[in-house]
């Protein structure tokens, strides 16, 4: 049940939204006096500027009203809807900016715009999908988008081989940000090479002393984590690459559509065109053997890290008076084996009972 206060809050937001719609309407259709001395364009005549506040109102309205729901099914749906409308709004901004530039005919401006958007587009992608994954996976996925920063900060702490390659790393980072599809992959590979030459050696070096076994587990865990991050980076570089390429294709096609006089008539039509192009591009990517292998590598790397980390945790928990997962698994195995045995014995008893009953009911058959 929702309280009266919640209801009132919803109604107030509703009234407020209506006011906003009215003022947007007024601002749009009231003649807008232009200060010609400052050579300003008349914003009221720009259809993009006209749609912007309306779109924002829709989004705010939806977002504000989410708060009226508890953690219920409608809340979950609304939450996913706002996440989707965020993407919708970001795509809208892209559309708006593109429209503003597309008609200019200045190739430099288009290139500049394209570079900027390639950079921003990564954010759209990461923000689009992460909220839909299970909570347990979100942190690690979000982490992957910060890998550039992580790697860059990590490189600062490394000694010679890292300093030697620092310029290359910076170069590749910059290129990656500016949309060079191969730069991120090169970065990942170079990182791995340097890692193997430096920290990798440290992690695989033999360890001595009383705590040798424990340290080995710690080191395995750290090593597998680095490997996991590395593979995750390569995975998302591939994902983002396709997103970026598709965006370029969409921009080119859209320019052609404008030139040919048959562009999408509304933002919704553009949005539909956009997501269908992307869906198709990802379908093609996902169908390749290389992607299947990469997906498998990513799974393997994450599992390897989980295993090593679990082992380490269990080691630490051993001194506490609680059973570990391995202890429980052993118990489950025993129970399972016993259950199977009981089930088998029950079947044997049933068969024997049936045979006995049959013999008792058919003594003649029995004697033959």
């Amino acid at each position: 049940m929702y309280s009266q206060n919640t209801f009132n809050e919803t109604m107030n937001q509703w009234v407020d939204t209506q006011k906003k719609i009215f003022s947007t309407w007024q601002e749009t259709f009231t003649p807008n006096h232009v200060d010609e001395t400052q050579n300003k364009t008349n914003d009221a005549l720009n259809p993009m500027e006209f749609f912007n506040p309306l779109n924002k109102i829709n989004k705010d309205f939806l977002e504000n009203n989410i708060k009226s729901f508890g953690k219920s099914m409608p809340f979950e749906i609304f939450h996913k809807m706002t996440n989707s409308t965020d993407t919708y709004a970001q795509l809208y901004n892209f559309w708006q900016n593109f429209i503003s530039n597309a008609n200019i005919g200045d190739s430099d401006l288009i290139t500049k715009f394209s570079s900027q958007w390639q950079k921003d587009y990564m954010n759209i992608f990461s923000e689009t999908f992460v909220p839909f994954f299970p909570q347990s996976m979100q942190d690690s996925l979000k982490g992957s988008t910060d890998i550039f920063k992580t790697y860059f900060n990590t490189t600062k702490k490394f000694s010679f081989p890292w300093i030697e390659n620092a310029t290359t790393f910076q170069d590749l980072t910059l290129k990656g940000y500016l949309g060079d599809h191969d730069a991120l992959l090169k970065y990942t590979k170079l990182f791995r090479e340097n890692y193997d030459k430096t920290f990798g050696k440290f992690f695989t070096a033999p360890i001595m002393g009383i705590s040798r076994e424990y340290f080995e587990k710690q080191i395995n865990s750290m090593d597998s984590f680095t490997n996991y991050l590395n593979t995750q980076n390569e995975f998302y570089a591939t994902i983002y690459s396709v997103g970026s390429e598709t965006m370029e294709k969409i921009m080119t096609n859209y320019q052609d559509m404008i030139k040919n006089g048959n562009p999408p008539e509304t933002f919704k039509e553009f949005y539909t065109y956009w997501w269908k192009e992307n869906e198709e591009a990802y379908k093609t990517l996902f169908n390749t053997d290389d992607f299947s292998k990469l997906l498998s590598q990513l799974t393997e790397a994450s599992i390897s890290f989980k295993k090593n980390f679990d082992t380490l945790l269990e080691e630490q928990l051993q001194c506490l008076p609680i059973p570990t997962k391995s202890d429980m698994n052993s118990l489950y195995k025993t129970i399972y084996t016993l259950k199977r045995e009981v089930r088998g014995l029950k079947t044997d008893i049933d068969t024997l009972t049936n045979e006995l009953n049959f013999k008792e009911e058919n003594p003649k058959v029995n004697n033959q």
Binding site: P47, M81, T266, N329
Partner: protein, 353 residues
């Protein structure tokens, strides 16, 4: 300007605004999405498996009872998702006597359950219970998706107990690249996953399913819902489906290990090398009538994975039934209610006399 139709765009935006406003009221007054509503009775249970018997909806239902076996992935109430689109209700009204297996939600203690436990254990015990209570020596089987694979294997191992076999959207030939799951499954190191997790989390499986159509399932679905926000009925149905999609039990480790390795990766069912409980599964043992229903637009179980079954069995009475829908559409589409359920019920009744 720029080819934009102002009037159309305006209408679109205001329409969206209006629907959002009405939608708030709809969502505030929405009750919990009711699913699985057709009356039924719990008649047998073993560990987490439950066997339900649906109350017949006709005076003289089909004399041979029918056992429905659903996949371990997701929940069986897809077949009874809403009363006006319930395959179960439809089949009952058409005169079938229905039982259904609810596999439940496996927990850590179930991680060692194998395909043998599910098929020769739970499924066989459920079938024996039904036959004993009806004083019959045979029953009909309807297997859905992975449940269809299980029903096929069961029919091959216990042909003497199966009167008729119906498979729906069932993977049999896993050596296909038509579906992404089949492609990805071949490279998956399932040993590692099961060793690390024990049971494979349902949420992890769901993430994989959503990756099959990322933009449609993770984005457009929630944008598109705005178009229907002002309709209580449509929103209620959306909620039901949403509830079902994310109601994903974990997968018992040893079972999914065998399913992926023996079937997805080695295609043993087709090769005749699959073993269960020490016995080889020979599809030629399937000699009862077979109705193989598949969805033409299925992205989870492509037709190429289902169709070969009819040529691999020894049954003389076999029928392939393509339906122009997707995997889930097989159960919730109007086409399914209008055509699939009547065809299925008639086919079973004609062979259950």
């Amino acid at each position: 300007m720029y080819g934009i139709n102002m009037e159309k765009s305006m209408n679109e935006l205001f329409e969206m605004q209006k629907k959002c406003a009405k939608g708030i009221d709809v969502m505030l007054n929405m009750k919990d999405a009711e699913v699985d509503a057709t009356p039924k009775e719990l008649v047998y249970e073993e560990d987490k498996m439950k066997l339900y018997h649906y109350k017949p909806l006709v005076k003289n239902p089909c004399k041979v009872p029918t056992l429905i076996t659903y996949a371990l992935v997701n929940r069986q109430y897809m077949m009874d998702i809403q009363q006006d689109r319930s395959v179960i209700k439809n089949l009952l009204e058409l005169g079938l006597d229905l039982y259904i297996i609810d596999w439940g939600y496996p927990t850590a203690e179930d991680m060692y359950l194998t395909m043998d436990d599910y098929i020769n254990g739970y499924m066989n015990n459920a079938a024996d219970y039904i036959m004993k209570s009806k004083k019959l020596d045979k029953l009909n089987l309807i297997g859905v998706c992975q449940g269809g694979t299980f029903s096929t294997i069961y029919s091959a191992l216990h042909p003497e107990k199966v009167k008729n076999l119906v498979t729906m959207v069932t993977p049999i030939d896993f050596d296909t690249n038509d579906g992404l799951l089949f492609k990805w499954g071949k490279y998956l190191n399932i040993d590692s996953m099961v060793d690390a997790y024990g049971n494979i989390p349902g949420s992890l499986m769901n993430s994989g399913y959503m990756m099959l159509k990322p933009f449609q399932l993770m984005l457009d679905k929630y944008i598109g819902v705005v178009d229907n926000m002002d309709s209580p009925d449509i929103m209620q149905n959306f909620m039901r489906m949403e509830k079902w999609i994310f109601d994903s039990p974990d997968q018992a480790g040893e079972t999914i290990r065998q399913f992926v390795k023996d079937l997805y990766q080695e295609n043993k069912l087709i090769k005749g090398t699959l073993e269960l409980g020490g016995n080889k599964v020979d599809l030629k043992n399937i000699n009862m009538p077979l109705l193989n229903i598949y969805a033409e637009h299925d992205h989870l179980v492509p037709p190429s994975a289902s169709i070969p079954l009819n040529d691999l069995v020894s049954s003389k009475d076999t029928k392939l039934y393509p339906v122009p829908v997707g995997h889930v559409g097989m159960y919730v589409s109007s086409k399914s209610q209008r055509d699939v359920a009547p065809t299925l019920a008639t086919w079973i009744k004609e062979r259950s006399k």
